[in-house]
C-alpha cells in the first residue's frame, strides 16, 4: 500500500522535525537560535495540520505563530540584548523534576509500545465532515463557539492593553 507508506513517512519525518526542533529550542544557549528552532517546530506542526485536514489552522498557525508571535519574540530578544545571558549558566537546579517528566514520558511510551495503539480508546468517529475546511470553521466559530469567540476578542483587547501598559515608558 504506497498510500499508507507515504502517510507514515510524512508523519515520521514531521515528528522528527517537530521533536528535533523542540529539543534544540530548549537547549540552545543563544535565545535567537532557540527562536529559530522553535520556528522549525512550529512549521512542522503546521505541516501536521495540513496532513490532518486542518488547512485553515495550518495557515493560522503560520500567520499568527511565526509571522506574529515569533517576530515579537525576536523583537524582544533583540531589544533586551541577551548577549550577557548567553555567556552564563543556562540551566537551573530543578533537574529532579525534569527527570521525573522524562521518566513519565518513557513509561508512557513503553506502555504504548507494549500494548499497541489500540490500548488508547478514543471516542468513535462521528458523522461530520472536515471539508470544506474554512466554511466549517466559520460555522464552528460563529455558531457553536460564538460566546468564546466574543470573549477571545476581549482577551485580545486586554492583552493589547497589558502589553502597552507594561512596555511603554510613559503612559
Amino acid at each position: 500500500m504506497p498510500e499508507s507508506i507515504l502517510n507514515g513517512l510524512f508523519f515520521y519525518v514531521l515528528a522528527v522535525v517537530i521533536l528535533g526542533g523542540a529539543i534544540m529550542t530548549i537547549t540552545r544557549r543563544n535565545a535567537v537560535h532557540s527562536a529559530i528552532w522553535l520556528v522549525v517546530t512550529l512549521m512542522g506542526v503546521a505541516g501536521l495540520y495540513l496532513h490532518l485536514n486542518a488547512e485553515f489552522l495550518a495557515a493560522v498557525q503560520i500567520l499568527v505563530y511565526i509571522g506574529g508571535i515569533m517576530v515579537l519574540f525576536l523583537f524582544v530578544i533583540m531589544l533586551v540584548n541577551l548577549d550577557e545571558a548567553a555567556k552564563q549558566r543556562q540551566f537551573n537546579r530543578q533537574w529532579s523534576l525534569a527527570l521525573i517528566c522524562t521518566l513519565v514520558v518513557l513509561v508512557e511510551f513503553g506502555f504504548f509500545l507494549m500494548r499497541g495503539a489500540g490500548s488508547f480508546a478514543f471516542a468513535e468517529p462521528g458523522q461530520g465532515a472536515l471539508k470544506p475546511n474554512t466554511e466549517l470553521m466559520a460555522v464552528a466559530l460563529f455558531q457553536d463557539y460564538l460566546l468564546p469567540f466574543e470573549i477571545a476578542s476581549l482577551l485580545l483587547l486586554v492583552a493589547i492593553l497589558g502589553a502597552v501598559l507594561m512596555a511603554k515608558k510613559e503612559i
Binding site: 507514515g8 506542526v45 537551573n92 517528566c101 462521528g126 485580545l156 492583552a159
Partner: protein, 102 residues
C-alpha cells in the same frame, strides 16, 4: 509500516509536551521559558487537531484556534512584562529575579 493512528499523534504530542515541560523547569532564561510554554500549547493543539480528524468534528480545530489566540495574548503580555522588568533590572534570568523569595 503500521498504520498511523490517532494514538501516534497523541504520543507525539506527549513527547512535545514533556520537552516543553522540561524546558520550563530547567531553563533560566525567561524568554526561553516562554518559548517552552509555546511548545506545550502546540502539543495541546496537535492533540486537538488529531482528535478532530479522528472524530470528524470541528470542535477540536475551533478549540485549537482559541489556544493559539491565548498563546498570542500570553506572549504579548509576558514579553511586555519582561521589557518592564529589564528596564528596572537588567537580567532575564529567572533565578536572579529574587527580590522576593522564589
Amino acid at each position: 509500516m503500521p498504520e498511523i493512528t490517532t494514538a501516534h499523534y497523541v504520543m507525539l504530542s506527549a513527547a512535545l509536551f514533556s520537552i516543553g515541560t522540561i524546558g520550563v523547569l530547567t531553563r533560566r532564561n525567561v524568554v526561553i521559558i516562554l518559548m517552552s510554554i509555546e511548545l506545550i500549547l502546540n502539543a495541546v493543539n496537535i492533540n486537538l487537531v488529531a482528535f478532530s480528524n479522528q472524530l470528524m468534528n470541528m470542535s477540536g480545530q475551533a478549540f485549537a484556534v482559541f489556544v493559539i489566540v491565548d498563546a498570542a495574548a500570553e506572549a504579548a503580555v509576558g514579553l511586555g512584562i519582561i521589557i518592564a522588568l529589564f528596564r528596572n533590572k537588567e537580567t532575564v534570568n529567572a533565578d536572579e529575579i529574587d527580590l522576593m523569595k522564589w
